[in-house]
């Protein structure tokens, strides 16, 4: 078949989401952030909500999320995104509001803001990217770093006696009356991406129907921080992260 025959619009099966712009991403090869950004862009566009969506970006690798998705954004101080999103949504209830946060942002410095926003049942979406490490600052221990997992601040592996236990914060959030959806997803295979997108859409729909807080955790890789090839990082995630952070819905109120 001639090339011109193939590239006809009616043959189009995949395209860049219209809300993603031409800026080159700063994320490392193999990083999960790019795929998760794409899913958010697709869901907002699918729902035809781009003129009503406000994102709150974190401190961490996704601090520049606002450079890649053409929507309105607020950039939060480290950990404070759920407090910011609380006010944005309460003062502008017709808007669709989400936070995008990493494990250090959400489960260490921002634990209070996260738990209290969820406990108030704020009608927001919390997108939680858990790669068990601080990527932006160069690979330090996160609250979700697994036992025995080496990072630059636990170079001989996370020692429970010294550092405490990895925090399953989504399990905590699922216990709160204010959450309506708490789900753990991943994006390392096409099948996982498809499933994750479905749950992300549900979360955004919940936020507009006033059901309470929705949390979508993405168990993710950090090939740079983990010092692995992207392929090996995916395999390591499946073998080590998934048993401790099992995928699936922790709570899904219909």
């Amino acid at each position: 078949m001639e090339l011109n025959e193939i590239i006809k619009p009616e043959n189009l099966v995949y395209e860049k989401p219209r809300l993603m712009n031409e800026n080159s991403m700063h994320y490392c090869p193999g990083c999960s952030h790019g795929v998760i950004h794409k899913l958010i862009a697709e869901v907002i566009a699918d729902m035809d909500m781009e003129e009503k969506t406000i994102g709150v970006s974190p401190v961490g690798c996704a601090v520049f999320a606002y450079n890649y998705l053409d929507i309105d954004w607020l950039e939060a101080a480290h950990g404070r995104a759920p407090a910011i999103a609380t006010a944005v949504k309460r003062l502008n209830p017709e808007k669709m509001v989400f936070t995008y946060q990493g494990d250090g942002d959400l489960a260490a410095i921002g634990t209070a803001e996260t738990i209290h926003a969820a406990n108030r049942g704020e009608n927001i979406v919390i997108v939680f990217v858990n790669n068990a490490i601080y990527g932006m600052t160069g690979g330090q221990m996160a609250p979700t770093t697994l036992e025995g997992m080496p990072t630059s601040t636990c170079p001989y592996g996370r020692n429970i006696a010294l550092n405490g236990y990895p925090l399953k914060i989504s399990n905590l959030l699922a216990e709160l009356e204010g959450t309506c959806l708490v789900t753990r997803q991943s994006v390392q295979t096409p099948a996982a991406v498809k499933k994750a997108k479905k749950m992300l859409r549900k979360a955004f729909e919940n936020s507009m129907s006033g059901k309470g807080t929705s949390v979508v955790e993405f168990v993710s890789t950090c090939s740079s921080g983990w010092k692995m090839t992207p392929e090996k990082a995916n395999k390591w995630m499946e073998e080590n992260m998934f048993p401790f952070y099992p995928l699936g819905d922790l709570k899904n109120v219909e």
Binding site: E50, E51, K52, T53, I54, V56, V63, Y66, L69, D70, I71, D72, W73, L74, E75, A76, A77, R80, A83, I84, A85, T86, A87, V88, R90, L91, N92, K95, A112, E113, H116
Partner: protein, 361 residues
């Protein structure tokens, strides 16, 4: 229409003025001696009348970040606290200043440092006018000395904050917050519509429409050349505020041979000191800075050529006195008198200090 006059506490006046001014949101956390602000707002339920959002946050840190979020959407939002809580808010205040967002903060000061006491103090002067949080930024600082000014400065604070896209703060203390006086209630203003907000604040995060680029509220700029440009822009704005927004009050200054400089509750006490001094034949005047930043340096410099000495009277160990000395630039003797840690001076103590430190020295 007859004036609407009510008797109330300074803290209550802040709450009522906020509702009447058309404030969109208040986010606070209880702390003595300012909890009546949140309590009054909750009792008034303005969400039923004006649509104002009132929320008790989980911490002062969360409350100031709620203010950041609300201000980023162009809304008129505010928070209040007292000294230890204001320390917690400093991170957020620095971000708000860095993102050039308008908002109103209220500090009803108490004695410190640390948990300190719940009694009145003015020891947060440095924190408020010299920074507090990190980075080169300024807060428009209004110092009320009456319950009336607590009410009036809510509107003035928001007007200045929106005029310059900069946070403004009301720096009161436990006396002004707790004492009751009659207040001419400010008039009711309607809250702005969404269209009015978008017209007034084209930078506001309100959802990206097809006719404009994305709006992003951030204080982050990794390129140091651009970050320096941002800082130069801030400094130009601060200079404009210093040129245009200085406010002060003069009390028996015209023929004064000696001058008291005092703000807030100290200025109220110093009015009595001036009366007592004049009864003794001492030609004493009082200059009350209303804006602590921008500081009324020019008028103080002018009086440096007229008086024999100045006494900066503050409920702290000597903070504003440094700005008075900078303004005077060695032209005349400037001393400080204060009481610390929640103790309030009497007019007699101040007059004695004036005699010992200035007149007889």
């Amino acid at each position: 229409m007859a004036e609407d006059i009510k008797l109330m506490k300074g803290n209550e006046a802040i709450a009522h003025a906020a509702i009447r001014y058309g404030v969109d949101g208040y986010f606070g956390y209880p702390i003595t001696p300012q909890s009546e602000i949140l309590e009054t707002l909750m009792a008034e339920m303005p969400w039923e009348t004006t649509g104002m959002v009132v929320l008790q946050a989980e911490s002062e840190v969360a409350a100031i970040n709620m203010v950041y979020g609300g201000a980023g959407t162009g809304k008129k939002v505010m928070t209040s606290s007292s000294s230890p809580g204001i320390s917690l808010k400093q991170e957020g205040i620095s971000y708000i200043a860095g993102a050039e967002l308008p908002c109103l903060i209220v500090n009803v000061m108490r004695g410190g440092p640390g948990l300190g006491t719940i009694q009145p103090s003015q020891a947060d002067y440095f924190q408020t006018v010299k920074g507090g949080g990190h980075g080169d930024y300024r807060l428009i600082t209004l110092a009320p000395s009456s319950v009336q000014e607590m009410a009036d400065f809510v509107g003035l604070g928001f007007d200045l904050a929106f005029k310059y896209s900069n946070p403004a703060i009301i720096l009161a203390d436990g006396i002004i917050g707790q004492m009751m006086e009659k207040v001419v209630m400010p008039p009711f203003h309607k809250r702005r519509t969404e269209e009015e907000i978008i017209a007034e604040c084209p930078w506001a995060v309100q959802g990206k429409t097809a006719n404009r680029k994305s709006n992003v509220i951030t204080s982050l700029e990794l390129d140091p050349a651009k970050m320096e440009e941002n800082n130069i822009r801030f400094q130009a704005k601060y200079k404009k505020i210093e040129e245009n927004e200085v406010r002060y009050e003069e009390f028996f200054c015209d023929d004064a041979e000696y001058l008291l400089i005092a703000f807030g509750s100290s200025a109220r006490i110093c009015q009595k000191v001036v009366e007592n001094a004049r009864a003794e034949g001492i030609k004493l005047g009082l200059l009350r800075p209303i804006t602590l930043w921008p500081f009324p340096a020019k008028i103080i410099a002018k009086y440096a050529g007229q008086v024999k000495g100045m006494l900066s009277v503050e409920l702290n160990a000597g903070q504003m006195v440094e700005d008075v000395r900078l303004a005077v630039n060695g032209k005349v003797k400037v001393e400080h008198f204060g009481r610390l840690g929640g103790i309030v001076f009497t007019p007699d103590e101040v007059l004695d200090a004036l005699k010992t430190l200035i007149i007889e020295n």
